[in-house]
Amino acid sequence: MGGVRPGGDASHAEPGHDAPYEPVFVGAVREELDALLGRYPTKMAALLPALWIVQRERGWVSDAAMTEVAALLDLTPAYVKGVVTFYTMYHQHPVGKYFVQVCTTSPCGACGAEQVVEAFLKHTGCGELGATSPDGKFTVIEVECLGACGFATPVMINEEFIESVSAGSVPKLLTTLP
């Protein structure tokens, strides 16, 4: 089930491991975090929001980013990693430019979600779940219930939530991506 595989050749990923780490929380991004901190009585409570900012800025949450977040929120990197690995939406590896999540839980499964997954794997060139396509554009995963069961099959492509996708509508959908 689910999960992204390491090693994909993702074009917009962070530079190689040798390159020096550029902090995420500088300038306006730092101000955004500071404003968030005002919402909670503890710094720790800003952890999930801070990780979301990292993912928005970098496309995934690297170990270096976890270390940066930990220092900002008075946590340890190990603690942050324990939290990151709990939540399925944080990418611990670079992913394709388009991250495609297809709901396959029972209600959607009853309405053809498996065929939708097959169609995505075929038409994106990903071949298998969790792998990034050779051109670095796509990563396709199955996800558990997206909470739109009446609109089977719901698919998320990055932040876009698309309802009522069928195997037949996949090729056209892919052509509409920016």
Partner: protein
């Protein structure tokens, strides 16, 4: 304690009264009933995750986790009903589902709670037809090896690092049956108290690399002891195999070390096994030291001491009994005594009050000072020219060598004969702390017993014994056959120890008169 409200309940037919707020699990312990458990540990916050301690409480519809359920007045608890047993058996089947059952090659085997409770209450066979999950073992750094497949995710280790060490370097990573104990890449488990996770682990998941594959634990002999490696006085269990100390583990004492022992202390036991020991008394014949009987050595020493001042260089690693006996020798000869103590960085265990690896790395500094020995980095400064220097198992540093020449004579009572003291007139072989029974006084003034863990080499004797015999040769009525007798004499002579005997000390110790009230280690 007077205003603590007591709650009375019945556990397995036994009535027991415990303070309000006590868990059923602890109340059962008080009633002499062991409720099987994994995640619960009295030193850690409640997790309630293993679900092993489920018991039946009358009038409650569901089984109750005994660790997370507070006692109630008039509660009736059944631990061994069919329903409770079935629930615990199921937990064991679930825990064993992916467990490799590699007990024959597991260091924990023999002291493993998974084995113990499976033996008591577990299923005879597993029903799974599917392959087991596999995860590679991981070196956590420091002395700790994580054998992932054996882990039952009780999170004792994580909670220790979070809440006791206050350095959250371990975590639970992933979720569901993919979950494992994790750490951050590149962050080694090197906190000075991190090794406690090995003792806390109820199964064979966290192992000591130092002890790895060294022994089957049922081959070990065990003695209650005190860690001698700093002045905290942590209670320990010394474990030996074939007369070699192979492991030192913490023994709980809520007045001193709670349940813990630091890494440095626990791993510094190899000196107890050193092979270059003084094994026979030696006396000087011309330019040679020759082996002799104890009486020859004692006589030679007494002869040289007659009418002379003794200057005693006493190791702060010696027992109360030995240091006191040496202080009597100082007193009788009108001499003096001193010692040097090795120092190192202090390392507190943040979550426990008044518990630290202390800067002074010796067991009995407090008693040495109490008995009149002067603490000094250059302890021989106080020696007068012509004094008889008695080196009582004290290390000799390079800086001490010049002063040795000022001594009228040198007598060595020690575990080894230092190279620089080869000019001694007599040498008496001494036992180390693992080889004798005795007491230490920790930095807070707590007098604590330790027992003999291994046989002493050759003819060696405890220092107190040798010195008592020497005093007898000097005309004092001394001569004790048991450590307890020596201690009783000490208690009779020194007001700080008034009223103490080995029996009253028990295994939690007693404070010397005038010491401050004990610091509670329990949060």
């Amino acid at each position: 304690m007077a205003d603590v409200q007591l709650v009375t309940l019945t556990i397995e037919g036994r009535q027991v009264s415990v303070p309000a707020g006590t868990s059923i699990l602890e109340a059962a312990k008080a009633a002499g009933v062991l409720i099987p458990h994994y995640c619960y540990h009295p030193g850690l916050p409640i997790a309630g995750n293993c679900r092993m301690c489920q018991v039946e409480v009358e009038k409650l519809p569901k089984l109750a986790p005994a660790c997370a359920t507070a006692v109630g007045e008039g509660q009736v608890v059944h631990v061994f009903t069919e329903r409770a047993l079935a629930a615990r058996k199921a937990v064991l089947e679930f825990l064993l589902l992916n467990h490799p059952l590699d007990c024959p090659i597991c260091d924990k085997s023999g002291e493993c709670e998974l084995q113990d409770y499976t033996y008591l209450e577990g299923p005879a066979e597993g029903r799974s037809l599917d392959p087991k999950r596999f995860n590679p073992a991981e070196d956590f750094g420091g002395d700790v090896l994580y054998v992932t497949n054996r882990c039952i995710l009780c999170t004792r280790c994580v909670r220790f690092m979070d809440d006791v060490a206050k350095e959250p370097v371990l975590n639970v990573s992933e979720r569901g049956d993919r979950a494992v104990i994790g750490r951050f890449e590149g962050k080694e488990l090197t906190h000075p108290w991190a090794n406690n996770v090995i003792d806390l682990c109820p199964v064979g998941a966290l192992l000591s690399k130092d002890f790895l594959n060294k022994a089957r634990v049922w081959e070990l002999d065990r003695a209650p002891s005190i860690c001698p490696n700093c002045s905290q006085g942590c209670n320990t269990i010394l474990e030996t195999r074939d007369n070699q100390v192979v492991r030192m583990r913490p023994r709980s004492n809520l007045d001193v070390n709670a349940y813990y022992l630091c890494n440095e202390g626990r791993l510094d036991y190899r000196w107890m096994n050193r092979a270059d020991r003084a094994e026979a008394p030696l006396v000087r014949r011309g330019d040679r030291l020759v082996a002799a009987d104890w009486d020859d050595a004692l006589k030679a020493a007494a002869l040289h001491l007659n009418g002379k001042r003794a200057f005693v260089l006493a190791s702060p690693m010696l027992s109360n009994e030995s240091l006191w006996m040496l202080s009597r020798l100082v007193e009788r000869t009108g001499g003096a005594g001193a010692f040097r103590v090795r120092r190192g960085p202090e390392a507190p265990l943040a979550g426990v009050k008044d518990l630290a690896l202390r800067a002074e790395r010796a067991a009995n500094v407090r008693a040495a000072e109490m008995f009149g020995f002067t603490k000094s980095d250059t302890p021989l400064d106080g020696m007068r020219d012509g004094d008889v220097l008695i080196i009582a198992d004290h290390e000799l540093a390079e800086a001490d060598h010049a002063a040795l020449a000022r001594a009228g004579a040198i007598i060595v009572i020690g575990t080894v004969l230092p190279e620089a003291a080869r000019g001694a007139l007599a040498v008496m072989p001494a036992t180390n702390m693992a080889e004798e029974e005795g007491t230490f006084t920790n930095l807070r003034g707590r007098v604590q017993r330790y027992q003999q863990a291994k046989a002493p080499p050759g003819m060696s004797r405890p220092v107190w014994w040798a010195v008592a015999d020497l005093l007898a040769y000097l005309g004092e009525s001394a001569g004790y056959y048991l450590a307890g007798e020596a201690f009783a004499a000490l208690a009779a002579a020194r007001p700080e120890f008034a009223g103490m005997t080995y029996d009253t000390l028990g295994f939690r110790g007693q404070l010397v008169a005038g010491a401050a009230a004990p610091a509670e280690t329990t949060p």
